[in-house]
């Protein structure tokens, strides 16, 4: 009986290690730190003929997650154009790191306590950009 109990405990631990419960990320997230680099034309931004490097929070997109089902989530983010853009994302099995996609590019991120960081790379013709932003829940 004792070995059965031990096997049960081990199985529970092993399952948890394989697929950790992701945090609830539904809500509005406000940028608190941001760095980005870009070159080229982008809606809502000046056209940069030379690389522009910035740490200005005004360049960070507002992030709103409206739905979540376990590791999968969806919402929108709003950038300098002011138009909300759909986003979808999924947590990895560690329940901490995630991947995210929008119509402009892709991102990877992770949740760190009450903060969330994601780093994006844009894939838009004649515009390239990369940035990392740390968010706090509003």
């Amino acid at each position: 009986m004792r070995s059965l109990a031990l096997a049960f405990v081990l199985a529970s631990l092993s399952t948890a290690a394989l697929a950790a419960e992701p945090p609830n990320v539904v809500g509005t997230w406000i940028p608190v730190e941001h760095s980005s680099a870009r070159i080229g034309p982008r809606e809502g931004l000046p056209t940069y003929a030379a690389p522009s490097l910035t740490h200005d929070l005004h360049f960070a997109w507002k992030l709103v997650i409206t739905a979540q089902d376990g590791p999968a989530f969806a919402g929108y983010n709003t950038g300098p154009s002011g138009k909300p853009k759909d986003l979808v994302g999924v947590f990895r099995s560690d329940g901490v790191r995630f991947v995210m996609s929008t119509d402009g590019g892709a991102a990877t991120g992770e949740v760190m306590g009450d903060k969330l960081e994601f780093c994006f790379t844009d894939a838009i013709p004649v515009y390239v950009a990369a940035g990392c932003t740390i968010y706090q829940r509003r």
């Binding site: 999968a72 969806a74 759909d86 986003l87 994302g89 999924v90 099995s93 991947v99 929008t102």
Partner: protein
Amino acid sequence: MRLLAFAALLTAVATPALAAEPFNILGTWVPVSHAAARIGTTPSGAYDTYTKPSLVRDKALGWSYTFDKQDGAAFSGISHGPKGKPEMTVGVFRMDGRRFVLSTDSGNASGEVNGDEIEICWTDNVPNYIAASCTTYKRK
């Protein structure tokens, strides 16, 4: 002479840390768990069209992979969705030999080896379709 031997030892110790032997990924990999979020119409025809975000957890909706070529860190093969056309897939392991990147016509992914399983997380960015997914695989 002793210094030379010490330098050789240091080199031998440092080399594996710089570029570990990549995991042998050859074979067919089938989903054991899958989660995804998507909106729009997938160009491969693998999924229905969603006008609102679709959030799913169903391993039957994961893609399977058959990797038939590997040369060190680089590998290639075919991926099959739940329906629609198979896609050519190419990938490369990072220097740690455990994490890798993958690319197809429609998007790109990053993955990692966890014991005898691999996890692959995709982001798709094509006109009128965005998706993200993470799938855990076991070798068939």
